[in-house]
């Protein structure tokens, strides 16, 4: 399978540091023609940094990239595309209102004189491409009306139309149902037969064993193992991903602090919750004084589920009880009056006012408390803000700083603090540490544990298994909109969770 001559893509000694944080450390990475290489590792292992270097989005601190034996200039996305490296991201980058054909050639349509689009030539080229790669797509369909797997194929075609020779795919099956995964894998095999090199990034081990030839495993910013898929088995892969020492340490540390079912009082109880076409039959109890983690693949509908608990969406079947009372929150305000705090996944869009300062953001959910008569007391806000900043050790300790200018970890602390100031009885956090550095992560965990000790019921949605194993008292696993298992964190290993998460095809 390895062709003679230089590999399609070769990264040598790639490294990237952000201040003191080493995101990627002396990494070599090779993709050959006709090879499907899996790239795996838990969050923060350095995968995305590596991908960003290869697409030109990030300039590495050290190292070089060769494409077909030629040194490529770094940190220049358009140059990388020109040289044949394309990336298909988890979230679609297509224009939904335009046809598949227009999307494939978006930005570089073949033109006739006077800049008119040469629609005939465009269609001929596209049809040729479809035939060559054996992909079947209705070129005139509006992309927004296509199924997710077909949209992925449109993105692949877009890459191929650019004469991409290496395609990076970031969690390509995250939004796909079982049959569509098979379809996508067949497309990948076709591309492979045509000599395209593919980098397949996924958390689903089943898929890696199904479609990949080779695997690169990363941990803590380094490549810890490279192997042909045929020469490695699943336990070994999980073991390499997690790292023995770390797994044992974090398990030990967490074990000492674990309190499954907390104080025993049920604070939130879901029975048969469902939302048509999204999730179904979800039942669980959340106890006072425990941390319950919901984990699963991206697209397993965990976010959609917890949004209905808070009231920013509605469930349509089942019952929800809070403190023994049946409730159906219809707006975030309802959720808040039930004592729920909610840290949403997208902190930039849904969580924070980036152009307001730290004090204003901290007070956003508690403005009524800072009123004297009908008027807001600015000094009250500032005092409360200063307390929260000290309490959460937000850096810098300056309430008048625009939130936009804070690091991800500090932004997240502000967002958590905004809800803690309400003294929530139930705190729901959706992917609370994405884009947060290791130090701030530990601080956020400490804050959450402290809230737990004070009797709050905490529900965390997380895709980061290390995080789940570290903070959870109990773990729930969601697959395709169903809660398939709930474990006491002390009595389950990471390998079991990994197996259950990928359960769709098992």
């Amino acid at each position: 399978m390895t062709a003679a001559g230089p590999p399609l893509l070769r990264g040598t000694g790639l490294a990237k540091t952000y201040g003191n944080l080493v995101a990627l450390d002396d990494t070599d990475f090779v993709v050959n023609a006709g090879e499907v290489r899996a790239l795996i590792g838990s969050n923060g292992a350095g995968k995305s940094t590596l991908i960003k270097i290869l697409t030109g989005a990030v300039t590495p601190t050290r190292g070089s990239v060769e494409i077909s034996g030629e040194i490529a200039p770094l940190g220049d996305p358009s140059e990388m595309i020109r040289r044949g490296v394309a990336c298909i991201y988890q979230h679609s980058n297509l224009a939904p209102a335009m046809s598949a054909l227009d999307n494939i050639y978006l930005g570089r349509q073949p033109t006739r004189r006077f800049g008119f689009v040469d629609t005939r030539r465009q269609r001929l080229q596209a049809e040729e491409l479809l035939a060559h790669h054996g992909i079947d797509i209705d070129l005139d369909a509006r992309v927004g009306t296509l199924s997710t797997v077909k949209q992925k194929e449109v993105e692949i075609l877009k890459a191929l139309a650019l004469e991409a020779r290496v395609i990076l795919m970031d969690e390509p099956t995250g939004w796909l149902a079982g049959a569509d995964v098979v379809r996508l894998h067949n497309t990948i095999r076709t591309l492979k037969a045509r000599g395209v090199g593919i980098v397949y990034i996924s958390h689903v081990l089943d898929e890696i064993f199904a479609v990949c030839d080779t695997v690169t495993i990363m941990r803590d910013g380094r490549v810890v193992a490279e192997s042909a898929v045929a020469d490695i088995d699943r336990p070994r892969v999980v073991h390499l991903m997690v790292g023995e020492k770390l797994a044992r340490e974090s398990a030990d540390a967490a074990l000492k602090q674990r309190r499954p079912r907390g104080t025993g009082a049920v604070r939130l109880s879901a029975r048969g919750l469902g939302k048509s076409g999204v999730f179904a039959d979800v039942s669980f109890d959340l106890h006072a004084g425990e941390i319950f983690c919901l984990t699963g693949l991206i697209g397993s509908r965990r976010t959609e589920l917890v949004r209905t608990l808070f009231g920013s969406d509605r469930f349509d079947t089942g019952t929800l009880e809070i403190d023994g009372r049946a409730v159906a929150p219809r707006t975030p305000l309802d959720g808040m009056s039930l004592g729920i705090g909610f840290v949403p996944e997208d902190r930039h869009r849904e969580g924070l006012m980036l152009d307001m300062n730290v004090t204003e953001n901290l007070a956003m959910a508690t403005l009524e408390r800072h009123c004297r008569g009908p008027l807001l007391s600015r000094s009250g806000m500032v005092r409360a803000g200063r307390r929260a900043i000290d309490d959460l050790s937000v850096q810098p300790r300056d309430g008048s700083k625009m939130v936009r200018l804070l690091s991800g970890g500090n932004q997240q602390k502000v967002l958590v603090g905004k809800w803690l100031s309400r003294g929530p009885r139930i705190l729901i956090l959706d992917e609370p540490t994405v884009g947060v550095d290791v130090g701030a992560k530990a601080e956020i965990y400490a804050i959450l544990r402290r809230e737990r000790e004070q009797g709050a019921a905490i529900l965390i949605v997380s895709s980061d298994l290390e995080e789940v194993m570290t903070v959870a008292d109990r773990i729930g696993v969601m697959v395709s909109g169903r809660l398939v298992a709930v474990h006491d964190a002390g009595s389950v290993g990471m390998a079991d969770i990994v197996r259950e998460i990928g359960g769709g095809s098992a």
Partner: protein
């Protein structure tokens, strides 16, 4: 309240322009001219402040001029025909203004239409109704009719200070407190900055947006009465034309961002003052009045450009 850098530079600009005009043509500082300019500042300021509320919410209100025409015609007609006493007529007009705002807010926040479209339709509809209502004739008071109390209230002067300016200042203070010192004001800025994040913070965003339009159109109704009594005769096809653009211009000059979530009452006041001083400048310096809009447009463009350059440097 601390004066922001933006407002301060606007104030300095007003003083500089004023000084230059006063030097070239001393009539600028004559009591008559000052009093007239103050009157215009009052009239235009009321609905400029009104506009600011909608702009801060992230919307825009284009029907201001048409509302002024429709409600003005209505007011004059009700009062002149003696159907209603001026006080009751004022309340009716105010209620109608709030109702129009409620409708706009509902269509924007509940139905989800774009503010530009909703209020553009409003602009056309109210103008049409105003013209139909008067059969395109000029509405005015019959010869010899006189309403001394009403006239003194809305068009009178106190020690040479026009009552319109006093009303404007009162409204400004109240609205300034609402915008900068109340929970509602915080909510309004939050909705303008990021509606999603506001919703997730437990803010009833629908209600906040609707009330912004109600405030805007309600204040515009008050302005309509003042303007009607100032002109005293209203030709419905041209009365209040382009006034929405004056309001938007004043708000933008005063530091409101059309993306929402930014702006201050003081800024809008200063923006209004600057616009009126510029108008005055065109008159006093003998610049052909046909160039009026061109001068205004250029100044706004330069102001916005300068501001953008400033804030760019600040970010770096």
């Amino acid at each position: 309240m601390m004066i922001s850098r933006k407002d301060l530079s606007l104030l300095i600009l007003i003083i500089v322009v004023g000084t230059v005009v006063a030097i070239i043509n001393p009539r600028f500082l004559s009591p008559i001219n000052l009093s007239n300019t103050a009157n215009l500042i009052g009239l235009f300021g009321i609905f400029a402040v009104a506009q600011a509320f909608v702009i801060i919410s992230g919307g825009i209100e284009l029907s201001v001029g048409s509302i002024i025409a429709l409600l003005g015609v209505l007011f004059v007609d009700l009062v002149a025909a003696g159907t209603l006493s001026p006080g009751v007529a004022f309340l009716v007009v105010l209620a109608l203004g709030c109702l129009i705002g409620l409708l706009h807010g509902f269509l924007v926040a509940r139905v989800g239409l774009q503010p530009f479209v909703v209020t553009l339709c409003g602009l056309l509809i109210y103008r049409g109704i105003a013209r139909y209502y008067t059969e395109d004739a000029t509405a005015g008071f019959p010869f010899g009719a006189s309403f001394p109390t009403l006239e003194w209230l809305v068009a009178g002067r106190l020690y040479g200070v026009p009552h319109s300016l006093i009303a404007f200042l009162l409204i400004t203070v109240v609205m300034g407190v609402v915008l900068h010192r109340s929970v509602y004001g915080r909510h309004l800025f939050a909705v303008g900055k990021s509606e999603e994040a506001a919703r997730y913070s437990g803010i009833n965003t629908t209600r906040v947006v609707i009330s912004a339009y109600v405030i805007c159109c309600g204040l515009t109704a008050i302005a309509a009465v003042f303007i009607a009594m100032y002109t005293r005769s209203i030709s419905p096809s041209s009365h209040g034309n382009f006034y929405e653009l004056y309001a938007i211009a004043a708000a933008v000059l005063g530091g409101c961002s059309l993306r929402g979530g930014e702006g201050s009452i003081l800024g809008v006041v200063l923006g209004t003052v600057l616009l009126q001083v510029l108008q005055n400048l065109v008159n006093l310096l003998g610049i052909p009045s046909s160039l009026n809009f061109a001068v205004m447009g250029s100044v706004i463009l330069i102001g916005v450009l300068a501001d953008q350059q400033f804030s760019k440097r600040k970010v770096r």
